[in-house]
């Protein structure tokens, strides 16, 4: 598929653009709400991350996939994915430095009170970041199509 055909699929619509602009902040807030509720009620990083990722997909539908791709900084996506993993690992390994087992949250209690809840929230946020960035990455990869990969075989990764 050439890039002409791809942009041909995009129809600029004031209604969609306005709606997305209004709805996006609420969707992102809802995503954070779901992530923060992961510790002790239904929800969590996986579901919240997908909702957060869907914000970028809505923007892509409203403003065009290529425009969204240009707007989005790939460094942010990579940092979210790797940073999420590293945050999770750091929280887990930190308790081992304090003499406990992996992810033994309550050892942080000596620094901050109620830290078990905060630590779990932080892990959920980290998972949310990973899931959101992977969802966004998959969306743009699928949108690029297989033709993109065949056209430029030298362009790895």
């Amino acid at each position: 598929m050439s890039s002409d055909e791809r942009t041909g699929l995009y129809v600029e619509s004031t209604i969609i653009m306005t709606t997305v602009r209004v709805v996006s902040p609420f969707v992102l807030t809802f995503a954070l709400f779901v992530m923060f509720h992961g510790a002790n009620s239904p929800g969590g990083g996986f579901q919240g991350g997908v909702i957060a990722g869907s914000v970028v997909m809505m923007l892509a539908f409203a403003y065009g996939i290529d425009a969204a791709r240009d707007w989005l900084d790939v460094r942010v996506v990579a940092a979210l994915a790797s940073g999420g993993v590293l945050t999770f690992a750091a929280i887990g390994l930190g308790t081992m430095l304090l003499g406990g087992n992996f992810l033994e949250y309550h050892l942080y209690e000596q620094f901050i009170s109620h830290v078990v809840a905060y630590a779990i929230e932080l892990v959920e946020l980290a998972i949310g970041g990973i899931v959101a960035s992977v969802a966004i990455g998959l969306f743009f990869l699928l949108a690029a199509g297989f033709g993109h990969a065949v056209d430029s075989p030298e362009d790895e990764s």
């Binding site: 790797s82 087992n101 992996f102 992810l103 790895e156």
Partner: protein, 499 residues
Amino acid sequence: MIEQLPVLLVVLPIVGGSIPLVASLVSDRAGWPVATLTLVGQAGLAGLLAWTVSASGTVSYAVGGFAAPYGIELVVDGLSGAVALLVAVVSLGVLAYARQAGPHSNAFYGLYLLLVAGLTGMTVTGDVFNLYVFLEITGLAAYGLVASGRDASAAVAALKYLIIGTVGASLYLLGVGYLLAATGTLNMADLASKLGEMAAYDSTLVLTAFGLMIGGLTVKVALFPLHTWQPDAYANAPDTVSAFISALVSTVSAYALARLLFSVFTVEFLAAVPVARWALVGLACVSIIAGSALAVSQDSVQRMLAYSSVSQFGLVIAGFAIATPLAVVGATVHLLGHAVMKGGLFAATGVIERKTGATTVNGYAGMGSRVPLSAFSFAVLSLAMVGVPPAVGFVGKWYIVLGAVNAENWPVVAVLLASTLLTLAYFARLVERLYFAEATIHSEETPAEAPVTDGSGQAVSFGMIAVVVVAAALAVALTAAVPAFEQVLRDTLLPILNQ
């Protein structure tokens, strides 16, 4: 530090696997050094852990400080310590091959380390649900690695692998659900004590759980009727990936199957429900015969090796299902030996293809003089796989046969002996081609015409040949390590097998 080792073995490759992604903002070629550093550390930790286990017995670890059976427990005994060490060493060795053979992208090495994390996790876990999680991590990473080939056929093979592999993992998960319904626990040791007590061994619930869990894992091991994903995945993936997953993915799944058999369902279950044992032994025997027959009829060398795995894993599972200490030691030795031999064989096919363009049995004719070192290693590995002494393939098969004789399981003995002849049939044909046949591919017509399977160049580096030669040397040298290893295994297995 020592008591933290089991969890560090899983966390280290996950952390390492997340770095190449960030590193790609700086450099396109950062993946390989990061993976090498991580796996050198991993091999060191796994070696330390295996040494600790062999010196002072089982190490268990409560993740998050939540005591078993409620928390997730990691347990490393002689068996899992050996498999964890194998995973670390083989994945480090394959990296030496990947340096030149590629793929070179950072994303590839991220997936590579993720697969190491999944395999290690499957090895060290002592919790059946946790095993499912790592089974899925292993599966997803393996699908991605198979798809990293340049050809469209790699994508098709990965899709097939994904669909069949997911069905297998789902069956396993369903079985875990039944076990949870029967006993209310997911911890392996706890399950072993509650099964038979809270739910009779021959109750429908436990039998269904056994069928689903073992059935799901046999898909991952690729026993005969459930092997259909495996030849395509091995033959169409880049050579690096073929060597890596043929050495480790099915191996660790077979380890998990043994772990379920002995540490969850236990030998009392096998004694109480003879039909379960006979079903497993029957499946293994069919796999041995059918895998060998299919291997003999293949034209492509890589597909032949893939079908050979179907047959060899039948042998391993038969050893586990007989469940006498001798047979289980034999199956474990053959499991670990097969990983080294099959990985080495796939690596050798990659080298021979790059140098001469030969991919088929007929194409291998006369290549013994064109690529002497690789062809010689290939021949050594082939004979080791057949079970010619003093190679490690002989020791494993010998113990399995002795175990079957001691158990007076004569049909299995017959199949095991026949399988050696069948293995000889397809490997001897190749070795004969390599050394005693007129070349069908001549040197002047090859390099430009050679098919590019993954677009990563045709050059063969010193590292690639070194991997093949080291694998061949190990296939023979490991025999010397068997007596010491047998002692460690017996210490681990005798309590498990109640002998």
